[in-house]
């Protein structure tokens, strides 16, 4: 959903697993929808880890742990590998996450998050572990993500790090603009390119 990003302060939901693939984020059987109903996808986020085979919530999974909630998902290395399904980003957004912090994202999924106004924040492994430790020790601990200054701060330790975000995407996120808005304005340039390369 298009929304303006600025500063987000929130508690975090920790998922300290590596190589979480998009089949786990949203299994293929939920891809049959022909609409972009984020709530539907959000309800089925991490479906097969979140619910047991009989449909009851698995109390061992973090989304079912009442101690944890918030707009920030803390994820292990290589988050979002595998399928290009944007439904994974819709599910994350639909559940209510605005930011995913990890030490490494798969390329396609990272683009999909950005295109859906979910901010992927890449931090080094040590800082990610610090965040996991802080949140484990105190589920009410909050983290501050400052988009204008491109910093993420562990408000428990006041430890702050800078994160990468290209200026174009930052402008889009802060002004709720998407790539299609931009590209539609570029049609004369596209037509000129076509003429030159015909």
């Amino acid at each position: 959903m298009k929304q303006k990003f600025n500063i987000i302060k929130s508690t975090c939901v920790p998922l300290p697993l590596e190589n979480v693939d998009t089949d786990q984020i949203i299994p293929a059987r939920f891809l049959k929808a022909t609409t972009r109903d984020e709530r539907y996808f959000g309800e089925n986020l991490f479906r097969d880890w979140r619910y047991r085979a009989d449909g009851t919530p698995d109390p061992g999974f973090v989304l079912n742990d009442p101690r944890y909630s918030g707009e920030i998902l803390l994820a292990g290395r290589n988050f979002g590998s595998g399928s290009s399904r944007e439904h994974a980003a819709w599910a994350i957004a639909g559940y209510g996450f605005k930011v995913v912090i990890s030490s490494f994202f798969a390329d396609i999924h990272k683009n999909n998050e950005l295109n859906n106004f979910v901010l992927p924040v890449v931090v080094d492994e040590a800082f990610l572990q610090e965040l996991f430790n802080t949140v484990k020790a105190d589920p009410s601990a909050r983290v501050r993500v400052d988009v204008p200054n491109q910093t993420v701060t562990n408000l428990t330790t006041d430890h702050s790090v800078w994160f990468e975000l290209n200026a174009y995407k930052k402008y889009c996120l802060m002004n709720a603009l998407d790539d299609i808005d931009y590209l539609l304005e570029q049609r004369p340039k596209i037509e000129a390119y076509e003429r030159e390369n015909a």
Binding site: D23, L31, T34, N78, N112, D179, R187
Partner: protein, 454 residues
């Protein structure tokens, strides 16, 4: 610098967005039914049409059943998605190969076999295995649905330019070693994130020695190392494969095209961001034991001691175990990875004169109707039937179980597909990835078997 990737990419840059990505012109957009409906909705919401409809080709493949395709799809949700693609293609004036169309099949099998994917092109699709088309010498990569909408709206995509990597595999492949084994070997070496951020050029004598089908398999699996895409510079093998294909240039235009395609190679002075080299002799028939494709080993190997416990628990395996001799419940030959004629030839060559193992369920699914026609014209269907195997109708099938072809919870499936993720072939299903030859060996013995011993 001066890599083939640079040449193709840079020739397609309409402009560089200041402090941002490149605006890249797209020569071909493929659409399937799963990742396109919301993009068409987006166009309708904005009140716009496709900018260059003639560059877009649509076909259903994920939901298509592998039997009775002349009947309406039983699952109403699948049926609606397939019908939605047909309706959208009609509304927006796009080419559409529907179910039962003789050109229908898995999009990544159909594109190259119809000559819709050509050297030097930029090709995208809302599907991570779009990297497959790199085998013809194109820059091809998977994208999300918002990006599909972007391309529909402008024939362009905003994309940061990936880094370049060259992987050379030199030497001769051993007996029983297929392109699939090369790819699984690379994933084992690099892990599933080892090539993230990179576009890979495959080179070296072992890569050159591959047929086009083998090259398509190798490039298909680029994404499983995390790569944005993978490709092979076009050569005589490529030209021979593409000649006379339906949408390949003809006559004088063909001559002109081939002359240009011959220039599509990395310069001798090319500088890659990363270079890796492997010896083909080190590659054995491979198999996966875990829940990502990087968890692979030689078929006669033992599961490493440091394998992720959560994965092994899901698979029902233990570190230090061998997989040889373990029973298999299902086998699957097919998918955009291994659903081509050469894969059926390999499978048939091994099962010829033998019988399908009792109790084993075998799904043999051609990648397209064209593959099915080749199977029949080469008489492979007779060999397979005599050995007790039935051939199903084309589609993605059990690769991700969006149709009825799902592996039940707890069952083992030795599969030629591309992903062994938890639940990929059905909730609780346990997938082991291998080549068509290795899958054929298990199909006749009922247990995991080294194909070199048959």
């Amino acid at each position: 610098m001066n890599t083939l990737f640079d040449k193709i990419w840079d020739a397609h840059v309409v402009q560089h967005v200041e402090d941002g990505p490149d605006q890249l012109y797209v020569d071909r957009l493929y659409c399937h039914e799963v990742t396109s409906p919301q993009a068409f909705d987006g166009l309708r919401a904005r009140g716009i049409r496709c900018f260059r409809p003639e560059k877009i080709v649509c076909m259903p493949d994920h939901n298509t059943p592998t039997h009775d395709q002349d009947m309406p799809i039983e699952d109403p949700v699948s049926r609606k998605q397939v019908e939605t693609l047909a309706a959208n293609a009609a509304e927006f004036g796009l080419t559409h190969y529907g179910m039962m169309d003789p050109r229908n099949g898995i999009i990544h099998v159909v594109g190259p076999e119809r000559g819709l994917s050509l050297p030097g092109m930029t090709i995208v699709c809302g599907d991570s295995h779009t990297s497959t088309h790199g085998a013809v010498g194109a820059v091809a990569f998977g994208i999300g649905t918002s990006e599909v909408e972007m391309v529909m709206a402008s024939q362009c995509i905003l994309q940061p330019k990936p880094q370049s990597m060259r992987i050379r595999i030199e030497g001769k492949l051993g007996p029983g070693v297929k392109a699939k084994d090369m790819a699984l070997y690379l994933m084992q070496q690099l892990t599933t994130s080892g090539a993230t951020g990179y576009f890979v050029e495959y080179a070296g004598s072992a890569v050159r020695s591959l047929s086009m089908e083998g090259r398509l398999t190798l490039c298909n699996l680029s994404i499983e190392m995390g790569a944005r895409g993978g490709f092979i510079a076009p050569d005589e093998v490529t030209f021979a494969y593409l000649k006379d294909k339906e949408f390949a240039p003809k006559g004088k235009e063909w001559e002109r095209a081939v002359a240009w395609w011959r220039t599509l190679r990395s310069g001798d002075d090319a500088v890659f961001d990363r270079e890796l080299a492997f010896d083909a002799a080190d590659i054995a028939p491979m198999i996966t034991y875990g829940t990502n494709p990087g968890m692979a080993m030689p078929i006669d190997g033992t599961i490493p001691a440091d394998a992720a416990e959560k994965s092994l628990q899901y698979m029902g395996f233990q570190a230090g175990e061998k997989l040889l001799g373990k029973p298999v419940d299902y086998v699957f030959l097919g998918a955009c990875t291994n659903g081509r004629i050469e894969d059926f030839r390999a499978f048939a060559s091994l099962v010829k004169g033998r019988r399908k193992a009792p109790g084993l369920v075998a799904w043999l699914v051609p990648g397209s109707w064209e593959v099915q026609r080749r199977i029949e014209s080469e008489g492979l269907d007779k060999i397979l039937h005599e050995a007790g195997f039935a051939i199903r109708q084309p589609g993605c099938s059990a690769c991700l179980g969006m149709n009825d072809d799902k592996v039940p919870a707890g069952k083992y499936c030795l599969s030629t597909s591309n992903r062994n993720f938890e639940g990929r072939q059905g909730p609780g299903a346990r997938t082991l990835l291998a080549s068509p030859l290795t899958v054929a060996a298990a199909a006749v013995t009922g247990v995991i078997t080294d194909p070199r011993t048959i």
